[in-house]
Amino acid sequence: MSSAHTKTEHGHADHNYLNHGSGIWSWMTTLDHKRIGLMYFATVATLFLIGGFFALGIRLHLAKFGAEPLLDPDTYNKFMTFHGAIMVFMVIIPGIPAFLGNFVLPIQLGAKDVAFPRLNLASYYIFIAGAAIAASSMIFNQVDTGWTFYTPYSTAKTSNGVILLVLGAFTMGFSSILTGLNFIVTTHKLRAPGMTMDRIPLMIWALYSTSIIQILATPILAITLLLIGAEKTLGVGIFDPDLGGDPVLFQHFFWFYSHPAVYIMILPAMGVISELITAFSKKTIFGYRAIAYSSVAIAAVSFLVWGHHMFVSGQSTIAGIVFSIITMFVGVPTAIKLFNWISTMYRGTVTFEAPMLFALGFMFLFTIGGLTGVFLASTGMDVHFHDTYFVVAHFHYVMVGGTLMALMGGILYWFPKMFGRMTSDLGGRISWVLIFTGFNVTFFPQFVLGAMGMPRRYFDYLPEYTNLNQISTVGSWLIGLGFLVGLITIIHGIFKGEKATDNPWGAKTLEWQTSSPPPHENFINTPTVTAGPYDFR
């Protein structure tokens, strides 16, 4: 890569990162963060389709429309495991940071690229390798443990496929660490002149906090997964009660990562929402600092609350109470964000294009997910709700209703920047209506089912749960249809969408100051920043 690009080289408006080098090979070896972002997009979207296939399979089985069950119990467990593992490790965790984050973070900072472009490409291939290893367990030796791999079942009882799945997750974790590291250094070192830390867009604050979690929590997952591998291959005994080990220690290790990981999933989503709300309200964000610091606060608190997944595991009562109280604290920074977004919209010039609809969908669904989280964080209530469909509904409201809504909104919002074309607004809206209604039809009944006592992860249920389950299944088809419409809208936009201007939404952050799509090095002249990121008048 040459180091000195002259101005004339990018002088033409039609010279951009998409046609800077052509052919599949130029993509596979690219060091351009924008292209790497799009490669993540293609990969994650494919994985999402596979995960979605399993989801619809699970739901169809649970509807019990026919006399014969669709899946046998063993297959059901495998469907559930692959669904959960794919969606968590391969869709939601990398989704926003690795795809949208990679695309926008350097541009929003006014940088030419991330700090370590080669490492960035390496992270992508490490992710692919991890996904391939994990997927090979589908072929060689399927896994039925659920995505949480609880011991001793995973280590002492079930098939060796666990080793593959765990190794794949380990590898993808490595990729996640490297991406986080890259983002942190980029944010520290590559900001454009004048871009002080209190002028970086809120998306960056969110990605920055996420990166901190990725760096601090993922190593613990790494060692936990390695230990599962060691238990399975060597019979080490650390989690195996037969040998004196303690399965609850596994749960501590696992949730010490996986609870913060929930914020790896949701913090970037909140960053996207902050961008969307300001852009479509045409108003300076209310409480920039409060939103920025609340991201960091959420990151910090997320490390102290893992025990709320283990209220009924036999940990001490004191631990339960302490974890319960600290968990409630997470609500504070979260509420701060919500109130700030609402205050931003208040008296703004709000317009309701498709991305904004997804942002509002996020706020609505995430609020329900968050409030039901408070139920689960109360030790007494959790005894009733634990491992019921209430929990399933809760985390889908948070992860799918929250993160996927933001992901869809983010895609539609930055789409003109990525491809230089607009998506059909109507297509986006139809997709939104279907996903939003379908989502509530699918998951709201599951709150009721859970409260009635239907356990999660079960292959079968009592007759009184039938109706609600069937409603839920119908809802899942609406969601599926909604994503299909979304996909068609995106593909149509890429090839047939009308040409986008440089700043179609009239937003103020830096990525909108360069051409659509941006040149290879993002800006022809490095921008100088003189004001905050959302200076609407």
Partner: protein
């Protein structure tokens, strides 16, 4: 702190302002990565502390069966290697490529020596059967599946067989210690930690040696020098962390007990 002169022929990458800028960024990246390494070992240390407090006698007896002399020699080997590594960085920075390459070669040799000693330690453990769970060499059916008693009786039988003991270099003193170990319930726990911790560390030693070899080639080809030595320093830092982890592992496994 040495600084990098940007006036030299070394070209910094296009997205950095200057060579200094690139150097500072790389260094930050390396440090962040090393934090994750330490955290990963941290998980093991936490587990070790928990089980140590649950089964103090098991860990005491277990640690007495380890050969602290070999561990001590390995500690010295690694300390020397850290020194040669630091020296290599210094020589590269001063443009003394030849002596820098020699220092790097010495570092690799130390890594090799460390692994050889580990090999002797491990194979001895395999012979006497103090291995975790499934891989008990004494009898493949030993271990995980609740056949502990059987397994222990096999080890005790071995301990009573002078010919076998002679063949495997087991001293009378060691027999006493081994007997003390297997008289404890859950004795495998100690060896589980021993093998996982030293195994993971060993993998890092090998990875470190490979990285140093890469730097060694770069040095010979004069791809690094006073203007540009970031990779040398990065690998050096990694190697120091590998050393540091051992500095904690050694007393914890071999001495504390």
């Amino acid at each position: 702190m040495t600084s990098v002169s940007s006036s030299s022929e070394f070209q910094h990458q296009h997205h950095f302002k200057s060579a200094e800028h690139q150097y500072a960024s790389s260094k930050q990246g390396i440090w962040l990565f090393l934090c994750t390494e330490i955290l990963m070992f941290g998980g093991l240390f936490v587990g070790y502390l928990i089980y140590h407090s649950l089964y103090p006698t098991v860990f005491k007896n277990g640690s007495e069966t380890l050969d602290w002399k070999m561990g001590a020699v390995n500690t010295v080997v690694l300390l020397v290697s850290s020194f040669t590594m630091a020296a290599a960085i210094n020589y590269v920075q001063r443009g003394l490529h030849k002596i820098a390459a020699i220092m790097l070669a010495l570092t690799i040799a130390c890594a090799g020596a460390f692994m050889v000693i580990k090999y002797f330690e491990y194979s001895h453990k395999f012979h006497v059967g103090t291995v975790p769970g499934k891989f008990s060499l004494v009898d493949p059916t030993c271990g995980a599946g609740g056949k502990r008693a059987e397994c222990e009786s096999k080890i005790s039988a071995l301990l009573k067989n002078p010919v076998e003991l002679e063949k495997n270099h087991v001293s009378a003193e060691e027999v006493t210690r081994l007997k003390a170990v297997i008289s404890q319930p859950k004795w495998e726990m100690f060896y589980g930690f021993y093998f996982v911790m030293t195994g993971l560390h060993g993998i890092h030693v090998v990875a470190g040696a490979l990285l140093i070899f890469w730097i060694f080639i770069k040095t010979l080809r004069r791809k690094v020098g006073p203007e540009y030595y970031t990779p040398v320093e990065g690998v050096g830092l990694f190697w120091h962390v590998v050393d540091l982890v051992w500095i904690y592992l050694f007393p914890l496994l071999y001495l504390v007990g």
